[in-house]
Structures are given as C-alpha cells and as structure tokens.
Amino acid sequence: MKIQVQTAAFDLNAELAALYAANPKVGAVASFLGLVRDVNEGDGVATLTLEHYPGMTEKALARIVEEARSRWDMLDCTVIHRVGELKPTEPIVLVAVASSHRQDAFAACEFVMDYLKTQAPFWKKEMTPDGARWVEARESDDTAAARWQK
C-alpha cells in the first residue's frame, strides 16, 4: 500500500507497473486519474492551488484504503495526491487498485475516490478571470460516498 501527498508530478506507467510487476497473483489493476480542468462553474480556470492538513491527510487516506481492503479482494493500492499550484491538464490524484479480478479492482477504486472526495482534508482554490475563489463542496460528492454505506 502506498499513500503519498506530494507537489511533484508522478510517472503514471511506473506507478501502475509497481502494483503488478512483482506480484503474479494480480489479474487486474483499475485506476482513476483526476485532472485539472480549464473550466469550473462556467468560468475559466488558469490555475488550481491545493492545500491540505499534513498528518491528518495521510491518516484519513490510510483509513479509507483499509476500509476498502476489508470490503474487497485488494492485493495492493496506490494513492498519490498532489498539492500546491497546478495548471489545466495536470494530474491531481491517482488511485490505483490491484486485485485478482476486475470487479473488486473497479469497486475498490471507485470507493476510495468517493471517500477521498468527502473525508480527506484537501481544499482547492481556483484562479479565474474574476480573481481567486475557494471551490465549494458538492452535494453530489456526499451522495456518491453515501451509496457505499452498509
């Protein structure tokens, strides 16, 4: 399990290969890559700055991954979330799950993303032509996380 918060870019191919190259039991890797868009709420976005709560972030992500591991056959998992200033087309977050079979990999990957969106202490501030503004939390993210409740 790898959980990392960093300003630097990451190598997607290397991160995915690390999940299966040394483990012949892995039959599936499902991954999600979140990117900076150049538009939000109808306004252009020049840059996105991500802030987080060091310490709590890693703890929250570890708990989410543990919860996923208790629900699905998860052989390995990588979560990388970037912070600092990012530009459109740059990757923000990678969640990748290795499993024996695709169903578990897909489900666990989606679960981790849905919980990350509502439980991990990150905040986005976007620079628009009208100035800087904090991105508001979306109700649809709460709805997405709630559907996993047992």
Binding site: E51, Y53, M56, K59, K117, T118, P121
Partner: protein, 85 residues
C-alpha cells in the same frame, strides 16, 4: 485547559491565522463549547462559525462532532467541507 487550534483554507484566510495556542475557560468542555466560545469573538468568527454554516471539525487529526469532549493538549482543527480529488 490548553489546546492548539488549526484553521485551513477559507477559514484560515478569514481568521487571518493558520494556528493559535488557546487557553480555554473552565466552561468549555466539548468541541461544541469551543465553537461557541470562538463565535463569541464576533466579526469573521461569528459569521463563519454561525449556526447553519457548513464547516468541519477534527480532534487530533480525526473527524469529530460537537459532542466530542476536549482534553488538555488536544489539536483541534476547523475547516470548510473538503474539496480534494
């Protein structure tokens, strides 16, 4: 009781500080009491922490609710709903 208070994102900007060391009066026993005590400072504190405003609380880096009891040395964080991913 002494606690460390941390503020993030919009709240950090509105309050003009990222952290403070606070000595709480004896009547502040829970997280809810602490929020009410901060609200009584008025200004941005009253606005941002008003009843019905969306904000989140954490004690020692775990999400917590207003009923949570505080103890000496706790790290308390107050922040807007999260928007990562």
């Amino acid at each position: 009781m002494n606690v460390t208070l941390l503020y993030f994102a919009r709240l950090r900007e509105q309050f003009g500080t990222a952290s403070e060391a606070a000595t709480l009066p004896a009547e502040v026993k829970t997280l809810g009491d602490l929020v009410a005590w901060l609200r009584a400072r008025g200004g941005h504190w009253a606005t941002e922490l008003a009843e019905g405003r969306a904000f989140r609380l954490a004690v020692n880096q775990d999400m917590a609710d207003p009923a949570t009891a505080l103890k000496d040395g706790d790290e308390v964080a107050i922040f807007p709903p999260v928007t990562g991913g």
